[in-house]
Structures are given as structure tokens and as C-alpha cells.
């Protein structure tokens, strides 16, 4: 059964189809939410919320829509509704022991939503610019601008930290 078929069957009340849909898209939804929220536990909760909304929305699914884009759109709205755990702004708290991953997570969480999102899609999900543009509903140049702005802010933070993280 196709992913669209899972949604259609779920709309008919088939819980197994919904489960298949969830298991199919859980990895990408989780990866996106973990990147956006910067916390794996919050990402698990948000993933749960995403699929609850999917369950509520299956009846409104348009059969011509790309299933992944449809589910991902719901995940994006969930991410937008959740305020990430407050984090220190980039560079304010230098990483301990050169822990660049922790610094990056903290810095990413402090970015505005639109900038954070392009970084997540580009650097974590490894999407190509055209796919990012399509998902966000903007042009590729806008994606490039946002990426530049996001990278600049992150690099500024790193510079302000005054630490050599290499």
C-alpha cells in the first residue's frame, strides 16, 4: 500500500493503516522536530502531537497531495506552536571542553523560527535547496538568504564566544 493509501485507509478508520503511516514518517518527523526543538524528549512529545493531529486530519487529506509534504506540514505547525526550552543566546555561554555539538544545539535553538528551520532542513535533514524552497513555499534565493543569515548569526555567536572550537 502506498503512503497515500495509508492515509486514505486511516480516514476510513483503519488504525493499522495509521500505524503504518506513523512508522513510515516517524524518522523524518522526529529528526525535524529534534532539530527544531533541540531536545530529544521534547521532540518525542512533539512527534506524538504531530501524529495525533494527523489522525484528526486524515479525513481532510487531498488524495493529490504528496503524503510526506502533508505530514511534514503538520509537523511544521506543531514545531511552530511549541516554544523551545529557553536557551542561552549564541555564544553567551561558551561550550565546556570544546563541546561544539552542545554549543551548536544551544545556538540553533536560539535562532528565530524561520532561520532555525532552514538550518535544520539543510544541515540536519540534508535537503537540497529546491526541496527546502518547495517545502517552505519560498524561492531558492530566499532559502539562500536565510541560510546565510542563519550561518552568520551562528558564526557571530561562535566568534563572540572567543573560543577556538576547532
Amino acid at each position: 500500500m502506498t503512503e497515500a493509501g495509508f492515509i486514505t485507509q486511516a480516514a476510513a478508520g483503519d488504525a493499522d493503516a495509521l500505524e503504518q503511516l506513523i512508522r513510515t514518517f516517524a524518522p523524518i518527523v522526529y529528526a525535524y522536530l529534534a532539530g527544531m526543538l533541540g531536545d530529544e524528549r521534547e521532540a518525542e512529545d512533539a512527534m506524538q502531537e504531530t501524529f495525533v493531529r494527523v489522525a484528526r486530519a486524515v479525513e481532510r487529506y487531498d488524495a493529490g497531495t504528496d503524503p510526506e509534504a502533508w505530514v511534514f506540514g503538520i509537523a511544521r505547525r506543531v514545531a511552530g506552536d511549541i516554544r523551545p526550552t529557553p536557551a542561552s543566546p549564541p555564544g553567551e555561554v561558551p561550550p565546556e571542553g570544546g563541546d561544539t555539538e552542545e554549543w551548536a544545539r544551544r545556538s540553533l535553538r536560539a535562532l528565530p523560527l524561520d532561520l532555525r528551520e532552514v538550518i535544520v532542513l539543510k544541515e540536519i535533514l540534508r535537503w537540497k535547496p529546491d526541496r527546502i524552497a518547495s517545502t517552505l513555499g519560498v524561492g531558492e534565493s530566499e532559502v539562500a538568504d536565510r541560510l546565510l543569515e542563519a550561518h552568520t548569526r551562528l558564526a557571530d555567536g561562535m566568534r563572540a564566544a572567543g573560543r577556538d572550537l576547532g
Binding site: 493499522d16 495509521l18 512529545d45 540536519i124 550561518h151 552568520t152
Partner: protein, 711 residues
Amino acid sequence: MDHGEARRLMAKSLETKLSQDEERDLALHLVGCSECKELFAGLQHAHPALSSLAPGSPPGEAIDRAVLRSTTVLRGEADPGPIARQAPEPSAPPGFPDHYQSGPVVIHPPATPAEPEVPLEEVEWHESPGAVRPPEADDLPIHTTEEPPAPVTTEEPPAPVLPVEAVHIEQPPALPPEDEPIELELPPPPRPLDVERRPAAEEPPTVVAAPRSEIDELLEEERRRLEPIPYTEEELEGEGPRPGMWLVAIAVTVAIAVIALVLVTRGQKLLGSGGGDLPKPADVQSRVARVFTDMKSLKATFSIERLSLYRVGTQDKAAVFSFSNGRYAGNIIYDKAEGYRQEFRLTAGGKELSRATIVQSSDQTQSVIGRGSGAAYVIEKNPPLGPPDGAFRPSLGLLEDSIGTVPSLIASASDLKVVGKTQKDTRDLYEVRFSVAPSELSRADQMDVFLDSQTYLPVIVKRSISRDNAQVLGPATALTSDVLDRAFGNNTRVTTEVTQLSNVVKDDIILPGDFALNPPSGLKPQQSDGNFEQITQAELSTKIDFKPLFPTGLPSDFQQELLAVDRAKPAGWGPGNSLPAPKNVFQESYFNGATTIVITEKQMSAPFAISTSPLQGDLPITVRTVNRGAQTFYYGVSPEVPPHAFGFIGNTFVMASGYAPEAELIKALATLQVQAVQVPAPIDLSPAPSTSPGASPAATPSGTAPSLPAG
């Protein structure tokens, strides 16, 4: 080149290699611009750091929770709300075995039926009522496969570390008071409880105090209930000691007693104190014994991780089992009056072994087994209440085995200790630890149970066992020493089971829609009729033409639930229908809120030799002989079937099955007696009737002389 263009090239350099011209231009800019140079250095460090953030796959348990909640919503049921992750537990249990899969354990089917029929005329039988034929020497060995299990291979990788989880319990909407003295209508205390008086230093730092608002609410509730005793003018104007003064004195005395009782029973909640006011073991035993008896309904999400033998397939017509950590994950809605709805999925070794949604009521069982197009939708009407004529129907579903066994194990614990108190979410849990006799029922020699501090419902149950006692985990022919050695590795003790309840709502109202099965669309039901007609006590004398037996030795908390008689044409039964057809079959079920016991009686023409379990399937059933006075019974247990005791009383084959201790099942059989049925007295038209119209015709007068069935 300006700063903007330089930054564009910097960003581009992160994605692709710049052209030579671009590289040159950027380098020239960076030489003259220290700000951009620092920025570029930052970018080059930030980029790989961001790439390292890519998370792994979501935890399977997190996906399970998402599936559970989403499918609940899909069915149109109320959103249970976020299903909480289960966090680290307060004390580390021993781990499950490192080698969590034994590899295949092949059980070859018996070449012949487990118990060949013995011609009735060859049976030697004592004529005295109640006597049971002593077992012949040939009867005693356990009948199992002749072939030894296939060599065990352990090619599977070591077990991943099992998620160590804690429990999230939602606040029940309306918890009934648990025998608390605050229900008494008593005068008010002379002054309100001053919770501020307690020195903060006395409060152990590890215990989270109840929120101030909650304290206030509780106190206010108490004040509202305890209205002052009104004085009357007559009382005030009387001579001598004024009654009002006495009332005040009594009120003050009683109020102090009430305060003391409130502090004892609810002190932790009121004062936020902890470690020093743990309940006494005897109190724990008393409360746990009542929690299930009093329970009217339960909603919960559960997980049961159990080290056991699991059927993983077949090989050359032989069943293949694996000694593994299996995990049941699901949820249950239970209503004492209506039945339950339970859905679960069983996985072991990363493979789904089974899944089912079951809706069980008193008169039918509906189930969807499997998934997708391969699912089976079965409706069985008038099912047998239990073995040997049908599947065991526990009232609490899977929880009976894992949680329902806890009260009796706690009650019999001689070394029970309340080792601490912890808080999960908004609920306090008491941790109790005790030793248990290793058995197939306990699957442990030590247990740690976390009890909800308000309801005393066990919400985490951990079982562990030492290598020396591990043989109780399965039949010896399947669970060889080699298999156990591999499972234990270098460990002397392993966890054998961890059961956890979360999202617990106790004694809430269960709506009819909560029991909807919702089979997959297009799936046609396979309908069957078990032909077991349910009857009432009052119908015993009119609907059946024999005298059934009733247990007189069950613990007092067991209540009779159902009586049923088989209306089908008598037929052979047992493995391969090799046992002779009975004349009548009668079943009765009893339930104490946690454990179901089903008693089956088959009236035979004459007794026959049956020392091996009639439930014999692929996995050998361990059978022990138990003598009770002049009577001999047999007790059988296996990971595949519930514990069961069986034997003969007169010509009646009797079997008691349920997740109850061996002694309890044996006693249920050994105390079976014909129940005297009161014949309603003739209508007495005299002014003073001598019989109570409300008297139950089924009441059993104590001291009724037992008589045995005619057979």
C-alpha cells in the same frame, strides 16, 4: 567586494567548492577585513558542528506511544493526552540478561496424544465417595517430547539496554476516599492545622512538598465538613455542667484524634514530609489487598517486559521457541461490571510476534488478531469461561498475570520492607521490596513493587531471580541448563519481568463507546458459538439436571462472577480429543478484582487416569502431583497456558485455572462441595411470615453437610 558579497561567498563555500575567481575575491576581502575573517573562521567551525546534530532514529517506545495515542484519537475516542515517556527509575533493578535471546528452542510435538484414553472398564476405582484413584507409577512422569531440544545457538547480538522507565500517572478525576477518618462527621478541631509550624529543616530534601494550594484546599475541605455542633438555648440555660461544655470538650478531644489520624494517613500530602513517615509493611499488605477488590474501573497504558519462552515459528512441523525478553505494549479499559477492552502488541528480538485487540464481555469475546489484510476478526458468542474447553478469560486481561498476582505475593511476604518513597510527576510512589518463593507463578525470588501512595495500586512491578532458581521460568525440557547459562552469562541475578502502568485512571466512568472494537474496514467477522449458556444461581435447580460443585475454600474476597453450562453435544476433549466425552460440563468463575479463577467440572461415566495436563500443546507443561488428604490432584504450568490444577472428585473431572498460587487452586478443588439449593418456601399468608422474602435461594447455609455428585 563588499561585506555582503563576501558573506554570500562564505555561505556558498559551505555548500560547494568556489570557483577560482570566487576563491580569490573572497581571500582578498578577508585579508583586508578582520571582521569577515573572524566570521569566516566561525562559519567553518559552526558548519560541521551543525551537521553533527543529526539525531538518530526515534526510540521505538516513542513511536509506540505516538501510535497508541493517535489510533485512540482515530477511533473517535477521547484524546488521552500526551502519553508520557517513562523516565529513569528511582532504583536500578538488576538488568535483563545480556544474551536476551537463547536462539531457537525446538519443541517437537508429541508423537501420540498426551494422554491416551484408558478404557473405562480397566479403571480400578475406590467406591468410597470422594476418593481419588492414587496415581500409578506410570502416570507420574511428566509427558514431554522424547527428543531433546535442538542445540541452542546465540548468534543474536547482545540485548540493547532496556529502557529504564518510570510511571506517569494522571490524577484520577475523582478518587474515592480510602477508609480515611476524614469522612467522619465530627466537630471541628480547635484550631486549623498549622502547616507552617513544621520546621523546614525536618523535611527531607529529596521529597517534594505538596503544593501550598493543595494543602489549603484539603484543610478548607476539612473545615467545611466539620461543622460546629450547634448550641441550643435550653442547653445553655440548664443547671449543672452545661451539655454544651461537654460537647465542646468532646469535640476538642475528638478533633485532636482526627488531626492525628489525618496526619498519619495523609500527613505526607498535608505536610509535605517524606522519608520518616513511610507506611508500615502491615499497612501496605492491608491496603494492597483491598485496592483491587474495591476497584470499579481502570484505564491504563501498560508495558510488560518478560523473560520467557516465546513461540517464534515452526521448523519441520515443530514449534520453535526463543527464550527472550518479550515486550507487551498496549492499553486496557476495564469495567468491573462490563468487561474490558484491551489492545496490545507483543514483540521479541525486534520482531512483532502478535497483536490483538480484544473486547471481552460476559457473554462474548470479540477480537481482531493480526494486522492489515491478514487480520482475523472473530466473534465468539457464549464462550467457555476457561480451560480445558476454551481459552482462559481473565477479567483484567494481561494485567492479571503481571499485576493481579501482586496482592497475594505481597500478602504472603514475610520480609516485606518499605524501602522508600519517590515522586513521579504529581504522584508519590512507595517502593516495597520482598522475597517470594520462586515458582512458575511468581517467576521471581525477589520483587520490587512501586505503589501509588494514594490508591496503593501497583504501578511498577519488577521481578528478578537468581540463577539457582531460574528453572521455574520454563519447562526443563525446553529451558535446559545450557539455555539458562547463556541467558545469565556472568550474572547471578537477572530481571525477569518489569510491568509498568502509565496514564492510570482508576474508578472513572466507562462509557459504552469505550468498548468499541472497530475492526478494519472490509474485514468480515468469523462467528462462532461456544454453546456455554450462562445461568444464574436461581436457575441451578431448573436449568441443569445434575448437582454442580462449588468451592468452599476460596479466599473470602473472591466473588462468584459467572456460571455456565455446556449445551453442545458431548464430545471428546483434551489433546486430539482423546479423552472421553463427558455427560455434562459446568463452569464457574470467581474474581477478586485482580485474579480470576475458573472451575470446570466434567461429569464422566467413570474416572480415568489423567496425570498429564489436558491442555498440552507444543510447549511441555510441567505437572506436579499434589496430595490433599486422601485426594490427589495435579498442578500444571507452562508459559503458554495459565496455571491449572486438576483431578477427579468421584466421577467428576475438575479443573481450576487462574493466575493464583498453587495452593489456592488446589484448595479450590479440594473444597468443592455440592451446594445446597434452598427451595422457596410455600407462600405463607399468615400475618407474620416466617421466611424472609429477600432471602437468596442460592444462599449456602454454613454447616451444610457436603454430599458428592451422583456421577
